[in-house]
Structure formats: structure tokens, C-alpha cells
Symmetry: C2
Subunit: 330 residues, 2 copies
């Protein structure tokens, strides 16, 4: 049997299994209703060869924001929690931080004081904690942090703070021939160590903000050093740029939760005739958090105003989702 | 049947087909001998769960340079051919080019005169032909050029100037669970329109040099404009940087043909214990071209000197390959 015949046989066997995929048991943590139906209708339509809106498998690209879309982003972005923990861990090596903002405020646990140093201060925090080591070392630091740290409200590991209905949505799309990507403002090397386990998304399908790296030989061994210099910010109008740069084709499905996803939603739903935009609206103060127009993290204003007009689905976490997290009691 | 069960069944059925994959009929355009055997031995070893050198499928990442590795790069990089053709096509809109280098030399067909303007001139040519339009427009321009243009020596379309044995190698690796990527100094948006058809590699698995793009609304429709500004050069020490940025894990297989691939080969074969480095050596002046240390395009010097020491396979095109191009008479 030639390679081609084998590959063809594999695809054929998989295809036999696919017609079962849009069944009622999909998306089990979604309540029946308008939101779930809209998703199922879209997927059913674009995967049905007899439908005029059929989309070939290779064009079934779906992009997901991460913070606030696939996992929680309150009381602060988890990556900021990582940076603050790292400042504390590194403080003994930096006695000068006791007298220098924004480090002084961070070490005193004064987040308002930290915020007073503005974007410049935030960049300093990121560079002090995210640069100055090899990529391999940073991977280890991040992996260790996820293993050791807990969310301040739930007491669960951060990488269990993922939204079960969104993980089901990722599974459902993949079962229907979609290729799923993360497109996040978060640092790509902060996410990659956990996305395969958390979402079934491999490192090469994670698009995010990057800092510059440089190839070097250390004791004759090749390494990549992380430099204190921002390379790319994958947020706002940077998201379509990142999608084009890393993925190279226009997705047909985009999910976000904030105005930082606005341009991505426009880019994805303004392209091919069959496309779907989804916004996760944080409406559940009891099980998660309730916030939108006034939030420091994940502000949702403009994108919500235009959701109706642009036919973007506004998912109501409180009413659309049976469960938020997998660890909730059944 | 749950999504999980279905996915599992698919993988299982595919797995049943895989044990047939390392057979004699693989790599049919490779002559039996040391080179072919080294490739088959490596793939057999890393795919055998009982072997100490087994590598899990998700870590089977293979990266390939493009120019001179997957297709020809003589008498000049095909992308340069594209740029020169575009200069001629755009000349009527730019009467000033008749008096300005490097455009004047290009329009006069004087490649030596063009070369005299150095790297600065080359960048000017690239920016004049690769920027100033939307990404969608550029995709169309590239696609049309490939459909209309012919290689100066063979008279074949450029996208048929691919090396059949290397396409078989890509197929063979994929049949054995590898995920294949292009990592090229060429422009990513020059390659992406053709890589799926030419190599079975989708756009999102093509890493290359990029120019800056900017999101904008034109008549209310979102577009990405290509700006006359280099964003990233994916060559030399930039290749490990690009691999880390776009792919996010260290490959175990790398193929190149020039010193521009040296750092990539070091990075890939200096990492995990099981890895493979391959260099395509252009030794066939009759069927393709013969060049190495002195070539303007694809100079191979340092990487060849160190090939033995680093256990990189030097593929001898003349003696290792039965055929170079698919269009050759059998």
C-alpha cells in the first residue's frame, strides 16, 4: 500500500466517523437555547457538503482569545500574578528593588501603588521577570509556577481555571474538522507550556505577544536568550496582524471577550461569507465574576455595543452555561 | 458515541495503518545506499515504542529550508525573479525608475548593475514590489505570477521546480507521525499561496521572513496593509528565533542546504538526544546545478566543513537521487 493510499484510507475512515459529530451530547455543559443552537447551526451548515455554505476542512480555522475567553482573568491576568510572584522570588537578588518603583509597591503588596507607575512600570515588571534567561529556563520557571500556585479566590491551580463549556466548544469544533488556535495578548511562552494539556492546543497553534530572543552559543551549546525588548503585542489591532503572520489565512470562527478582541472579530467576520463571532460575557458574579464596560481587565464596551449589528453571539455565562469550571460540584 | 470515543477510534484506525509505513517502497526516488538508509534508520528508531530512542508523535517536528532544499534556487532565488518581473510590470506607473538605481539596471536587464547597489538596493526592490498593497491583493499577485511565469532554464512553472525526493521525504515523515514545517529566509507570503499544493504544507506551517502589516478599515471593511518595513528576517541565526517564535518547540529533524541553515541545524541537532540534520549538496550540474562554497545564492561552506563532526547527512544530489524533478522523463 503506498503512502498516498494509506493516507487516503485514513481520511476515509475518519470521514465515516464524522457524520455523528453534531449530536445532542456535544457541548454538554451548555444549556439548550439560542446560544448553543447558534453554534450548532453554524457548524452543521459549514460541514455539510450539500449545503451552499459548506466550507472545506482546510479553511475551518478557529481562533480563541485566552484571558477571559478560555480561562478567568480576574482579579488580574494570571500572567500578572506570575510576574508578581517572580518579583518576590527574585527580590533577594535585587536589594535595590526595596527603594525603586514599581518593585517597591509589589513587594509591599500595594497593587494600587504598582498601578500608579502606569504602563512604563508594567513593562519594567514584565522585563524583570520575563527576560534575562534562556527560553528553556523560562519554560521551566513557568511550568514550576503553574504546578505550585493557586488562584486567590478559588484556591485551585491556575491552569484548572479554564471554562469547561469553552473546552467543549474547542473539542466540538475539532471533531468537525476545525483547526483551533489561541490568539491572545498574553505572552506566547507563558501559555505554551500548558495549552496542550489545558485545551488540547499544541504550542505551534498558540499566537501571542512575544519578546525578542537571540541565538547564542554557551559552552558550545546553542541557546536562545530572552532579551528585555518587546517584539510584538498581540492585542487589539495587533490580533489580525498576528493571525496573518502566524496562521496565514483568515479564520472563519473567532471567540473573544473584550474590546481587545474587537479587531479580531471584525477581521474574521468581515472576510469569508460564512463566519462566526462569539463574545463571552462575564455575567456570573456567583460562580465567576460579573464585569464588562468598567473593568480594568477585559473591558468589554465597543464590541458589546456592536455585537447585534455585526451578528456576533453574546454568550451569557450565567444563563448559557451549566458549569463554569470542571472542578465545580455536579 | 462521544467525541472522545470517536477521536480515539479514528486515531486507532490510523494507527493500524501505520506499521506499514517504513517499507522499501518509501522514498522511491532515492537510490539505495547510505543516505536513504540513514533516514530510514532514524525514522524507524524514533517511531518504535520499544526502542530507547522512541520520540512521542507530538515531538516529531521536522523543519525544512525552502530555497535550494525543497526547490531550486538557481540562477537566482525565485522570489527575486518575482521581484524583477514586478518591477517591469510596474514600470509604466514609475517613470522615475528609468533614471534611478537599482530600478534602472533591472529595467535594462543588467543584473550586475543591480547587484552593484548592494543590500540597500535589494531592500528597495523588495519594498517596491512587496509592500503598498493589502495582504489579499499580494496573495493574488503572487498566485497569478506563479501561474504565468516559467523558470529560465527548464521552461517549467517555478512551482514545479520542486525536488521530488524531498517531497517524498516530507510524505514519509508525515506518514510516520511527523508534523512538517518550512523555515525559510523567503517571504512567508510569497510561499504560502503554493506550499499546500507543492509540498502538502499548509500556510500556518510556513515560517519565513515577514514585512510589517497594519490593520485598517477601507470603506468599512477590515484589511491588512503591507508596509515598506521589514519585520523579521528568518535566515541564519534568525532561523532558531523563528522556530521558537512560530513553532514553540525544538524540532528533531532539520533539512537545509546552505550556511543560512547552519544555526538551524545546530539548534535542532544540539537539543534533544534524538535528532537528525540533513544538508542537500548541489552536485548535479547536468540535471540541476552544481555549487557550494562560491555560490552567490545558497553558499555552502561552514555547514559542509562541520557536517562530519556534527553527524549531519550530506545528501549528494547526483548520486543519491534517481530523479530531481517530477517532470523528468522516467
Amino acid at each position: 500500500m503506498s503512502v498516498f493510499t494509506r493516507a487516503f484510507a485514513g481520511v476515509f475512515l475518519l470521514a465515516l466517523l464524522l457524520p455523528f459529530s453534531a449530536q445532542a451530547e456535544d457541548l454538554p455543559s451548555w444549556n439548550d437555547g439560542k446560544s448553543k443552537q447558534a453554534i450548532v447551526d453554524f457548524v452543521t451548515k459549514v460541514t455539510d457538503e450539500k449545503n451552499a455554505d459548506f466550507v472545506k476542512p482546510e479553511d475551518r480555522i478557529a481562533v480563541f482569545d485566552n484571558d477571559g475567553t478560555l480561562w478567568s482573568e480576574q482579579p488580574y491576568y494570571f500572567q500578572l500574578g506570575f510576574a508578581l510572584d517572580r518579583i518576590k522570588a527574585l527580590a533577594p537578588e535585587h536589594p535595590e528593588w526595596k527603594e525603586t518603583e514599581p518593585f517597591k509597591s509589589v513587594l509591599a503588596g500595594d497593587l494600587k501603588g504598582m498601578a500608579a507607575s502606569g504602563e512604563k512600570g508594567l513593562v519594567e515588571l514584565m522585563m524583570a521577570t520575563h527576560a534575562g534567561m534562556t527560553t528553556d529556563s523560562f519554560n521551566t520557571i513557568v511550568t514550576d509556577w503553574f504546578a505550585a500556585s493557586k488562584h486567590p479566590k478559588t484556591g485551585k491551580p491556575y491552569n484548572e481555571m479554564t471554562f469547561l463549556p469553552m473546552r467543549e466548544l474547542l473539542d466540538y469544533l475539532r471533531a468537525n474538522g476545525f483547526k483551533t488556535f489561541i490568539v491572545s495578548g498574553g505572552g506566547v511562552e507563558f501559555m505554551r507550556p500548558i495549552t496542550e494539556h489545558a485545551y488540547g492546543i499544541p504550542p505551534e497553534q498558540v499566537v501571542g505577544s512575544t519578546i525578542a530572543t537571540e541565538y547564542a552559543l554557551v559552552d558550545g551549546e546553542p541557546v536562545l536568550n530572552r532579551l528585555p525588548k518587546i517584539d510584538f503585542i498581540d492585542d487589539g489591532a495587533g490580533k489580525p496582524v498576528g493571525i496573518n503572520k502566524f496562521i496565514g489565512r483568515r479564520p472563519i470562527f473567532a471567540a473573544g471577550n473584550s474590546d481587545g478582541d474587537y479587531e479580531m472579530l471584525r477581521w474574521v467576520t468581515g472576510g469569508k461569507p460564512n463566519s462566526f463571532g462569539l463574545i463571552v460575557h462575564h455575567t456570573d458574579a456567583a460562580r465567576e465574576y460579573a464585569y464588562d464596560r468598567e473593568s480594568h481587565f477585559g473591558k468589554l464596551n465597543k464590541a458589546m455595543d456592536e455585537a447585534d449589528q455585526r451578528n456576533w453571539l453574546l454568550v451569557d455565562m450565567k444563563n448559557d452555561w451549566k458549569k463554569i469550571y470542571a472542578f465545580e460540584a455536579p
